[in-house]
């Protein structure tokens, strides 16, 4: 922006005042604009590749309207079978969550650098495998060292336990615990590091752990409903069968049951979360970070315990 001296000519003043003040073109903006341009070009290519045009939209919406005519009203002829399979879905989700949590406990501790920090230790190797896939080479070397008897002979194998993505939250919880309480308290009684960790670290991460388990259970329930589509049991199997037999009314009935089931489970999950955790969470991350129908229904009954309800009330107070 040019500075105007008191003796500036009127024409200069006029031209400067007409000029729009624009922010400087930074590297950030250039990258953003270039990315946007590439995305638009790629989308145009994709559009022509798939062959979408206006007629596709018109006929597509017509087909959907016709299908809805066939589907409505939903029918519940095989309600009992649907209920059985819905419960099967629930059992699958609960058992899957439980088994993955067992694996999580050991790898979560192992990956926490606060708990185990020695280079080449399985703790660091596992962390590199899960959090930074690019660090696989380093992790592999660490695994090999661990496998050859460096500090912990069995650690390398354990570090490979496949887990869902959420288990990366566990070491973060461990990083936040009060180290002086954990180490000092345990060491004061002369315990070895493992019992010291179990007695003093575990109680501190319990609220976060409960929050994650419930959140993961929510996700697993949704996943379990569609597992049947590939033949893995659950209510998705019935949906696929009904659509395959062109029984659209009954298929919509199954979809309705799935929606009700997911909503009820979210409601129960929010209720349990509210009762078990209340406001006693670690750094506000122990509760499900999701805005769901079940959570909303729950927040109608109670204004405490649900993170979303808390967020809503804080927004209102602002």
């Amino acid at each position: 922006m040019s500075t105007l001296s008191p003796r500036s000519r009127p024409s200069q003043i006029k031209s400067d005042s007409n000029r729009r003040l624009l922010p400087p073109l930074t590297r950030q903006k250039v990258i953003l604009r270039a990315s946007l341009f590439v995305f638009i070009v790629a989308t145009v290519w994709a559009w022509t590749y798939i062959g979408i045009d206006i007629t596709v939209f018109v006929t597509g919406f017509g087909d959907i309207a016709r299908l809805l005519e066939y589907m409505l009203p939903p029918r519940f002829d095989d309600f009992n079978q649907a209920l059985d399979l819905t419960f099967q879905t629930l059992w699958m989700a609960v058992l899957g969550t439980f088994l993955s949590r067992i694996a999580l406990r050991s790898t979560g501790f192992r990956r926490s650098t606060e708990h185990l920090t020695a280079p080449g230790h399985p703790g660091s190797s596992s962390r590199h495998h899960r959090v930074h896939p690019s660090g696989a080479g380093f992790g592999l070397r660490a695994d090999l060292r661990a496998g050859l008897g460096y500090r912990c002979p069995r650690g390398g194998a354990r570090a490979w336990i496949p887990l869902d993505r959420n288990d990366r939250k566990a070491p973060r919880r461990l990083h936040r615990v009060n180290r002086s309480d954990a180490a000092g308290g345990g060491d004061f009684y002369g315990w070895a590091s493992r019992p010291s960790g179990d007695v003093s670290l575990v109680p501190q991460i319990i609220p976060a752990f409960i929050g994650i388990v419930l959140y993961r259970l929510d996700i697993n329930l949704r996943s379990a409903t569609v597992l049947g589509l590939v033949g893995a049991g659950g209510v998705g199997l019935l949906l696929k069968a009904r659509l395959g037999m062109l029984e659209y009314g009954e298929a919509l009935g199954v979809v309705v049951i799935i929606i009700v089931f997911i909503t009820v489970m979210e409601f129960l999950s929010a209720a349990v979360r509210g009762l078990l955790l209340g406001n006693d969470n670690i750094s506000g991350v122990a509760k499900a970070p999701r805005f769901s129908l079940g959570n909303q229904v729950y927040s109608l009954f109670t204004r405490k315990g649900s993170r979303n309800a808390q967020m809503a009330s804080s927004t209102e107070s602002r």
Binding site: Y49, I50, G236, L276
Partner: protein, 258 residues
């Protein structure tokens, strides 16, 4: 020394027992046996072993076509979903919406859309439109609209009120107010979310083919059905490489714009 057995502790104990009971019931209901689990590990590893070495020779051209179709589905559905989610997101943000009724209705619509898993939406669209990528694009567009609109709304709700008041005091219209004081501070976050949504759509579009929604998933499902495991290995490897490459690019852009 144990903490006192108060109401809170007894509540926690009861819920823990209920959870343990649920696990026990599910254990028997699914007829899960640890012995079977361990004995099936051998079969799992032998099947995984049959995926190696990946064989690209038989499905080379189909693989490229399928992968391109998958990327195309992800791109178009992200674009269409974003177009739908912008107005929905504005309506669903408490501080930007036109009135409480519009806010409530939009939030409800978003909740219902997000309550239905995307594969189920895809099954319904395949039943309506027929097999092919168009059904997949429609399904992912609906899913994206529900999810992205909610993320946009949540981001907009976090905007500071003071700049908006300043712009409003200059006599700006509501649209000008949003364009100059709501969108600019949230744009880096919105771009990050957009990249995240594209990431999710790319992953989702790889499995759409399993229910007839087009893309490489169809090829994957067929190769498993005819027991061509080495071809399956090639498909899985290709999916991994493409998804990972896109994730790296997304990470780079995200890092640059933050």
């Amino acid at each position: 020394m144990l903490p006192p057995f108060d109401k809170e502790r007894s509540q926690k104990l009861i819920y823990s027992l209920i959870f343990v009971g649920l696990i026990a019931v599910s254990w028997f209901a699914v007829e899960f046996s640890p012995w079977q689990f361990f004995t099936s590990l051998g079969e799992i590893f032998s099947t995984a072993g049959r995926l190696l070495p990946p064989d690209f020779s038989e499905i080379g051209s189909d693989l490229v076509t399928g992968m391109l179709e998958t990327i195309a589905i992800a791109l178009v559905s992200t674009f269409l979903g974003t177009l739908l989610s912008i107005p929905l997101g504005l309506l669903a943000a408490r501080n930007v919406t036109v009135n409480r009724f519009a806010y409530g209705i939009t939030r409800l619509v978003l909740l219902v859309i997000r309550g239905i898993p995307e594969l189920i939406i895809a099954v319904i669209f395949v039943a309506a439109i027929g097999l092919g990528p168009i059904a997949g694009v429609f399904a992912l567009t609906v899913g994206t609209a529900g999810f992205f609109a909610k993320l946009i709304a949540d981001t907009l709700e976090e905007v500071d009120r003071k700049p908006r008041e300043a712009v409003f005091a200059t006599g700006a219209t509501r649209l000008q107010e949003i364009a100059s004081s709501v969108i600019p501070p949230t744009s880096p976050t919105l771009v990050s979310l957009f990249l995240y949504i594209f990431d999710i759509n790319l992953r989702a579009s790889t499995v759409l083919g399993i229910v007839g929604g087009g893309g490489i998933g169809f090829l994957l499902f067929n190769s498993i059905r005819v027991l061509e495991f080495q071809a399956t290995g090639a498909i899985i490897l290709t999916i991994f490489v493409v998804v990972y490459a896109v994730e790296l690019i997304s990470m780079y852009i995200r890092k640059q714009i933050q």
